[in-house]
């Protein structure tokens, strides 16, 4: 069976900086892949390329059997299959939570976007704050609304870049709970994170990157040692030079 998502020989250069140096990746439908790596490893660039936000210098992305053009990012069809949560929330601070979702619903061509927006506000526990401007939200609430935005069009591929950054413990756990609900075998998740505890919780596979390359991929639970956070840190420390346990 052909992989749902395939990246072949992805290279991305920004001037003399090589952000990606030949990435090959295959992800099956319904899989959840956790990307680990130090800052500057190329995780965000890889997610940007997979989302169609960043144009690769070389290589290609094949999504659901369709090769994505290199010059114009992903096709509109591929973008409709993809939900992206980046470092920024992509939300308008001057609009209310509901207005933001209604706008993105219209933009993404969601049928009955009002009903779908309300459904997502409920799913993310933001119904009570639906008419409040996003500018007044806490970081955790904004992050939850942001994932509602990225799921609004019911994407098959969900790309999450540091989804736990800036969240307190409680918000982080609530957010992880929402992500677990997305692992329904139908949606494919790729999550870039520094949170080792999230690996076992959210991933079927861990992929460790450094300096624009994939250095290691392994199924969860780890075959040799089990997947406690401690063992994942051990594995990470073994692969990434200079990391102290």
């Amino acid at each position: 069976m052909e992989a749902f998502l395939k990246a072949e020989g992805l290279v991305k250069r920004y001037g003399h900086i090589n952000a990606l140096r030949g990435i090959d990746l295959q992800v099956d439908r319904g899989d959840s892949v956790v990307l680990l790596g130090p800052n500057g490893a190329g995780k965000s660039t890889l997610l940007g390329v997979l989302a169609g936000r960043v144009r690769p210098t070389e290589g290609q992305v094949i999504l659901q059997g369709e090769t994505q053009g290199k010059t114009l990012g992903k096709s509109a069809l591929a973008r409709s299959l993809t939900g992206y949560l980046g470092h920024s929330s992509l939300l308008y601070q001057g609009l209310t939570a509901r207005e933001n979702l209604l706008f993105y619903g219209k933009l993404y061509g969601v049928e009955d976007s009002a009903e779908r927006s309300d459904e997502m506000l409920n799913f993310m526990g933001l119904w009570e704050r639906r008419d409040d401007k996003v500018g007044g939200f806490s970081r955790g609430m904004e992050q939850r609304l942001s994932i509602a935005r990225s799921l609004l069009h019911d994407p098959q591929l969900i790309l999450l870049d540091e989804p736990f950054s800036g969240l307190d413990y409680q918000s982080s756990r609530a957010f992880a709970h929402a992500l677990r609900q997305l692992r329904d075998g139908r949606r494919t998740l790729i999550i870039a994170t520094h949170d080792m505890a999230a690996v076992e919780d959210l991933g079927d596979r861990v992929t460790i990157m450094n300096r624009g390359r994939i250095l290691h991929q392994e199924k969860i639970p780890l075959e040799t040692s089990g997947s406690t956070p401690g063992n994942i840190i051990d594995l990470y420390a073994k692969i990434i030079p200079g990391v102290k346990k």
């Binding site: 936000r53 960043v54 920024s88 929330s89 992509l90 601070q93 001057g94 706008f103 933009l107 993404y108």
Partner: protein, 222 residues
């Protein structure tokens, strides 16, 4: 054009809530027109003779200010990326931003028009049809160029300087055409000559809009 309309509506909603762009542009332009009108000897015919040029230069600088503000909203929280990730032809993002920016410019210009008449001694209804045909066509050309250049410079350091440096020279055809049409309209001059200039402005608009629509999807990717 579903996505273009959604962007247009969203921009209008944000502006209705904050009134940031229209108020800023109106106050800025009012100050510029007032300062120019007092810059010569009392009773001198110079301000009146230069009025069309002064008004259009004011429009251009205010337009740059407006474009900056409109794209600041897209920059905050990375919203521009959100627009680009939408599963629509990226040309629609361009058209949506063009429509809303054009609406903001025309609203502030409509407010400014009677003030301009009072300050420079013109009847606000004299040649109004021809004058506004020139203003609207000039606006379309300016916005067609301005939106694509704003998108290119959205993440650039020093974009406040880069945008006018790129946009002002490229807007010269709009400035020349706009000033000519306005001069002829205010002087009650030959309709045929005004029509010629209106035709040239319309041709610039078509060229700029076609170029903008084709280039926008290419220039917005990292």
């Amino acid at each position: 054009m579903r996505a273009a309309y959604a962007i247009f509506r969203k921009d209008l909603l944000l502006e209705l809530r904050g009134r940031e762009i229209v108020v800023t542009l109106t106050v800025f332009s009012f100050l510029v027109l007032t300062v120019f009108s007092f810059s010569t000897e009392p009773g001198s015919p110079a301000p009146r003779e230069m009025a069309p040029g002064i008004l259009w230069i004011t429009f251009l600088f205010a337009g740059i200010l407006g474009l900056g503000r409109a794209f600041d909203r897209e920059r905050e929280s990375g919203c521009f990326t959100g627009l680009l990730l939408a599963p629509c032809d990226r040309m629609q993002v361009y058209w949506g931003k063009c429509l809303s920016t054009l609406a903001f410019l025309m609203v502030f210009q409509a407010i400014l028009w009677p003030i301009f008449g009072i300050l420079y001694g013109y009847s606000p209804v004299r040649g109004i049809g021809t004058a506004w045909a020139g203003i609207i066509l000039g606006d379309i050309g300016f916005v067609a160029l301005g939106v694509i250049l704003s998108a290119v410079t959205i993440h650039a350091r020093g974009r406040e300087i880069i945008l006018p440096l790129l946009l002002l020279p490229l807007s010269l055809p709009v400035l020349v055409g706009g000033v000519r049409v306005l001069t002829l309209a205010l002087a009650g001059g030959s309709g045929a000559e005004a029509l010629t200039w209106i035709g040239r402005l319309a041709a610039f608009d078509v060229i700029f809009l076609v170029l903008g629509s084709v280039l926008f999807p290419l220039v917005v990717e990292e």
